[in-house]
Every structure is written in structure tokens, then in C-alpha cells.
């Protein structure tokens, strides 16, 4: 990604407390040295091939394509990456960097819990001590991931300040880092935060787009007409978009959390609505959902991983330049798309990823069989079993929970 001192157009930068100045100097230096070292990227690709499941497949969704009678729909299967989401790409890359920097402890924020699980996994493999910060609300809705993080040896801290979601977990991770920067690296999970994080995370995630471009050419013989990705912080979107940014005939579509509707005020759509405005928080400048005073607003989404007030400065720049189009998918539309994808393809997208499916389904009929679209399926949905079962109001699942609860209550 081209940038000027961490700025993408007018967005980005590094708004950090002085106590972290030297830590960022060290990080920038370490990152620059691996960025310029081809053998590091080879080591990274090798690790992802042998420890994770890269390259992940590009699946032709034939039944969905037939159902919508339009474009051929391809799905990039980041759900098959180890730990079940694209998050591992960034985390394993930063893990290799941490080894080079000689630090012994990693910390991370997590919303949906996928980045937390990936970080706990990486820490277990590389022998680092690990602490994960997670908003109290997200701990409640992503309980299975909390369980796995703890079993993987990480300490999970439930964050009770602010809105008790992703942004508050990020604040808390920074508070940890300013206390223990000497032995600790903060594995930021998305293409946000102070420079060099947006650039560095985008670099590790670019592996998605590199693979997807090659795969679509092999399978379809041409560029796709459109590429869809959900956007919380924006890391899976930046990952796949980088494979097609230079291809001007490919339209790039980011799908944000429409929550209870784009006009409801209860959503997390920064760029698909006029509700956000320029601001500086969490160490960087972007479009934030905030009030006139600059206080961040509460956001809402059925998907914890999209429930965030800010968005990648790189994506904001691409949006401003008209390169990426933004849309929103509501909670209800997400459940319908999820249901259809399971029934038609036997694939269970994460609630986050299902946002991208919604927009692709809305537009597939506008295109024809000679055109292809790619949906980036950023993660798998089985982590969301409690939320999805609740949203489907599934009676047999509810009975199971009631019985399990009774069993534990009598112990």
C-alpha cells in the first residue's frame, strides 16, 4: 500500500502517547526490515501452508449461482484457514515478527473472538505469554471463543468500560501496552490503529487477494466483475481487495453492519451512511460514528466483529477516491443470507462474513453468466452457534440449553 508517513490521503497517522514513541520506532524498524526481506515472506507463506491451510480454496457456489440466475458466484474460503477465519494470516505474520524482535509476551483485543483465538493459538505455538482483552458484551455473545482462548493458555480480560465492545477492548490493550512495552507486543487485529499497523496488517492479509486473483484466473479465466467483503475494521476486505486494486474493471464492494437498518441509528455503518464524520481516536484518523462533541457513539450489529465505531484509514481513502463502494446489510438480511447459504451450499459463514453474502445476493441478478463475483468468506459460522440459534429461535436448541443449565445447576 502506498502511503506517506502512515497517511492514506488525509487518513491514518499515529496519534500515540509519548511513552510509546520508542516502541513504535522499534516496531517500524522491525517491520521495514522484514518487509524488505523476501525470505521473510517465503517463511510466512511456508508457515501458512504447513500450519494453517493456505492457499484456501476458491469454491464455485453452483447452486447459489443457479438460484440467482446471474453472475457465477465464487466464495474465497477463509473459513478453512486454521482457527476458522482470515485473522490467522495477520496473527502468524506478526508472530514471526515478534520472534525477530525478541519479545516474550503478546496482547490483543478481540470483538468476535476470532482474532483472540488466533492470537492465543499463535502464542501457544511460539511460546509467548498471552493476554486477550474483550468487551464484556462480546464475552457474553461469543462465549465458545472465550473458552478456547483460555484452553489455549491465554488470559482473557473482560472489559467493562465504555460500550463494553471492540473499541473498549482496544483502549484497554493500549493501557496494557503503555505499562509493559519492553517485553510485550500488541498484536492489533485489523487495518486500523496507529501507523504502521494498517500497512502491516494489510500486508499480511494481502495473501488472500494474491491467491484469489490467481485462482479466479485459473477457474474462470478472467477477472471477476465484483468482489464483496464485509467491513468491520476492514482487514479481510483489504486482504482480498489488494488482489484487484490495480484491476480497474473489478468493482470492489465493502459491506458494513446495517444493524437494525441504516436509518435506525442502531448500526455500525461508517461509510455506507452519512452518520460518520472525520475524527481522531484509537491512535488514527478516520471516519468515526461520533456525536458533534467528538464522543464515540454506541454501535449495533448482530455480528460482534463488525460492531466498531471506526474503519480502516486505507479503506476510507479508497472510499473517498471512489475505488471502493460501500453498502450496509441489516441483521435480518444477514440471517436470511446465512440460512440460504447453508441450505444451498452446505457452507456456514460467520455472521460477519454473511454481510458480504447479502450484498452479493442483492446484486447477482444484475449480472450474467459470463461474469463472476467473489465473496470473501472471512470466517466460519459455527463460532456463532449461540447467537445464530437464538436468532433462529430454534426450539430444540433452546431445550438443550435448558437441560444443560439444569444439569450444571444441580452439581
Amino acid at each position: 500500500m502506498k502511503n506517506n508517513n502512515g497517511y492514506y490521503g488525509q487518513w491514518g497517522g499515529a496519534f500515540i502517547p509519548e511513552v510509546l514513541y520508542e516502541t513504535f520506532q522499534e516496531l517500524k524498524q522491525a517491520y521495514t526490515s522484514v518487509r524488505n526481506d523476501e525470505s521473510f515472506w517465503q517463511e510466512y507463506v511456508e508457515l501458512m501452508a504447513t500450519y494453517s491451510c493456505r492457499p484456501t480454496p476458491l469454491t464455485h457456489a453452483e447452486n447459489l449461482s443457479r438460484h440467482f440466475n446471474g453472475a457465477r458466484i465464487f466464495i474465497k474460503r477463509e473459513d478453512l484457514n486454521h482457527t476458522g477465519a482470515h485473522k490467522a494470516n495477520n496473527v502468524m505474520g506478526q508472530g514471526l515478527l515478534v520472534k525477530k524482535m525478541g519479545k516474550k509476551r503478546v496482547i490483543a483485543e478481540t470483538g468476535a473472538g476470532q482474532h483472540g483465538v488466533a492470537t492465543a493459538t499463535m502464542a501457544a505455538k511460539f511460546g509467548f505469554e498471552c493476554t486477550i482483552y474483550m468487551g464484556e458484551e462480546d464475552v457474553m455473545r461469543q462465549r465458545p471463543n472465550v473458552f478456547w482462548m483460555e484452553k489455549l493458555g491465554a488470559k482473557v480480560v473482560s472489559v467493562t468500560s465504555g460500550s463494553k465492545t471492540l473499541k473498549d477492548a482496544i483502549n484497554e490493550a493500549f493501557r496494557d501496552w503503555v505499562t509493559r512495552m519492553d517485553d510485550t507486543h500488541y498484536v492489533l487485529g485489523t487495518v486500523c490503529g496507529p501507523h504502521p499497523f494498517p500497512e502491516m496488517v494489510a500486508w499480511f492479509q494481502s495473501i488472500i487477494g494474491l491467491e484469489a486473483r490467481q485462482q479466479i484466473l485459473e477457474r474462470f479465466g478472467a477477472d471477476p466483475a465484483r468482489v464483496y467483503a464485509c467491513v468491520g475494521g476492514g482487514s479481510n476486505a483489504m486482504g482480498i481487495f489488494q488482489g484487484f486494486l490495480e484491476r480497474e474493471n473489478v468493482e470492489l464492494v465493502g459491506v458494513e453492519a446495517g444493524g437494525k437498518g441504516l436509518a435506525s441509528g442502531q448500526h455500525a455503518a461508517r461509510l455506507a451512511t452519512n452518520d460518520a464524520s472525520p475524527g481522531v481516536a484509537q491512535g488514527y484518523k478516520t471516519m468515526f460514528l461520533q456525536n458533534d462533541d467528538g464522543q464515540m457513539l454506541d454501535t449495533h450489529s448482530v455480528a460482534a466483529g463488525l460492531d466498531y465505531v471506526g474503519v480502516s484509514p486505507i479503506l476510507t481513502d479508497l472510499w473517498e477516491k471512489g475505488r471502493v463502494r460501500f453498502a450496509g446489510a441489516t441483521d435480518d438480511e444477514v440471517m436470511a443470507a446465512l440460512d440460504l447459504t447453508m441450505k444451498k451450499e452446505g457452507i456456514i459463514p460467520a455472521l460477519e462474513s454473511a454481510h458480504a453474502f447479502v450484498q452479493a445476493f442483492k446484486e447477482a441478478g444484475e449480472l450474467n453468466r459470463d461474469q463472476a463475483v467473489i465473496i470473501n468468506m472471512s470466517g466460519r459460522g459455527d463460532k456463532d452457534i449461540f447467537t445464530i440459534a437464538h436468532a433462529f429461535n430454534d426450539p430444540s436448541w433452546q431445550q438443550f440449553i435448558i437441560e444443560k443449565g439444569a444439569e450444571y445447576a444441580t452439581r
Binding site: N5, G13, A14, F15, I16, P17, E18, V19, L20, Y21, E22, T23, S161, G162, K167, N171, F174, R175, V178, T179, R180, M181, S277, P278, G279, V280, A281, Q282, G283, F288, Q290, D292, D293, G294, Q295, M296
Partner: protein, 256 residues
């Protein structure tokens, strides 16, 4: 009169060390803020930093985070804070500073904020999330409105970095006593002493030391080493536990 002159005059008044205190505007209420400030000024506080609440106070510890959040939950606005400042700076003849995070100023408009601060007789500004790398233009604008931007040194700052920082801003230097966020104890050891010596060698500006300063013992320790002792979280806790009236005796006790 600029902040640096205020400090000079106060330092000549037979005081071994100056005291700066911190309040979070609107927490628990402006009425309590008013009383706490009176108690502070009547008992010899030399400077007061008034924090305009922000929803993402990244450099603060749990106590001040909660105070920020409660104030916002109680609908305290930036306009309310400015209005309160107008009243306070007229009533009390000591220098007042604003402390806040950059987004509050950015959203208000940098120049508009500085102009308003000057009108309100605010002498200085402490913004923990803006560095020279991001803030050069803002720092220059603050000079124009005679608002002293307080530069911050940290224990992790090298001598070279300190010299660079001290080439910006005005008034005094805020030396963060230790790593971490506000509201935890600081151990005053050899490492701290050598850090403070490094600060002293890097600038001729007065040095304020904050983070974890909570008792007469701490203030005594800093006397002779620093120019200003900063009491932050301690008085917020005190007001929560014992009410505003407890602030006066506490402040008086710090230099007795």
C-alpha cells in the same frame, strides 16, 4: 501574562515546590467541581488542569476513565465545560489549563478551540495523544493564541527525543513519572532519579511530575528535584469517598 511567567512568579513566593491538581469537568457534577476548585485554590494549589471528558481516554487509568464516562453519561458537553471554565477563571486568580484528547479539539475546530480558550483565560493545554509528528501546525497555532501546549516526557524518552520535544510547546514540561496509565503508585527509585536528571538536562523549562503522586511523602520526595508536583487521581478518589470538603485539608497537608 503567559503561563511560564505565572509559574515564575509563583515559584518566587517562598514555595519549595508548586502544586498542580486535576479535575474531570462535570464529574461528579459542575457544582462539586466548583466547590473542589475553591478548596484547592484556598489551600494553596498553584495550577489546575481541567479535563474535558472524552469517550476514549486511552492514557488514563480506571478511576479517571470512569469519571470521563460518568460525565458523558450525564450529558456533559464540551460547551458546558467551556462555560464552566469562563466562570472559574474569573473567580480564581491562578492559572488554569485544559487537559483533553485531540479528538475533542479536532471536532471543535483547532483554531476555534484555541481562540475560545484564549477568551476564557485558559493558559495551557495538555493533550496526551498528539506528538510533534502530528501536531506541528497545531502547536504553532497555539503559540499565536498564547496558549502554552505542555509537552510530555516519558521514562522511555531518550535525551535526544526530549530535546526534540522541548523545541515545541511552552510553559512547562509534564514528566510522566512511570510507564502505564494514571492512578497507580509510582516507586521513586534510582531509575526515577536518573530519568528526572535526564529531563532536567534536556530543557530549561520548569518540570512538572505526575502519575502516582498521592501523598505528602511523594511531594517531599519531589521537592528540590521537580518544580511542580501533579496530584491527579488521588483527589478524585478523595471527593468520591469523603466529599469536596475533604480536599482542602488534604491539599494543605501536602506541603505542611
Amino acid at each position: 501574562m503567559q503561563l511560564v511567567d505565572d509559574i515564575g512568579i509563583r515559584a518566587e513566593k517562598d514555595k519549595d515546590i508548586l502544586l498542580m491538581t486535576h479535575i474531570v469537568l462535570g464529574y461528579p457534577s459542575f457544582a462539586v467541581n466548583r466547590e473542589v476548585i475553591s478548596q484547592m485554590v484556598e489551600n494553596g494549589v498553584d495550577l489546575i488542569e481541567m479535563q474535558i471528558p472524552f469517550s476514549e481516554p486511552m492514557a488514563d487509568g480506571p478511576m479517571i476513565v470512569k469519571a470521563n464516562q460518568d460525565a458523558i453519561d450525564n450529558n456533559v458537553t464540551v460547551a458546558d465545560c467551556l462555560e464552566f471554565a469562563a466562570e472559574i477563571t474569573v473567580r480564581h486568580d491562578i492559572p488554569f489549563l485544559f487537559m483533553t484528547y485531540y479528538n475533542i479539539i479536532f471536532k471543535y475546530g483547532e483554531e476555534k478551540f484555541l481562540r475560545r480558550a484564549q477568551e476564557l483565560k485558559i493558559k495551557g493545554l495538555i493533550v496526551p495523544d498528539i506528538s510533534p509528528e502530528e501536531g506541528k501546525a497545531f502547536f504553532a497555532l497555539a503559540e499565536k493564541y498564547q496558549i502554552a501546549v505542555i509537552m510530555i516526557f516519558a521514562p522511555t524518552s531518550t535525551a535526544e527525543r526530549m530535546k526534540e520535544l522541548a523545541s515545541y510547546g511552552n510553559g512547562f514540561i509534564y514528566c510522566v513519572a512511570r510507564k502505564g496509565v494514571t492512578g497507580r503508585a509510582t516507586s521513586f527509585d534510582e531509575e526515577f532519579n536518573s530519568y528526572l536528571e535526564r529531563c532536567r538536562r534536556s530543557t530549561r523549562r520548569p518540570l512538572a511530575v505526575g502519575f502516582g503522586i498521592s501523598s505528602k511523602k511523594d511531594v517531599d520526595y519531589l521537592t528540590g528535584k521537580a518544580d511542580i508536583a501533579v496530584i491527579g487521581t488521588r483527589t478524585i478518589k478523595l471527593v468520591d469517598a469523603e466529599g469536596a470538603a475533604a480536599v482542602g485539608p488534604f491539599i494543605r497537608g501536602l506541603r505542611e
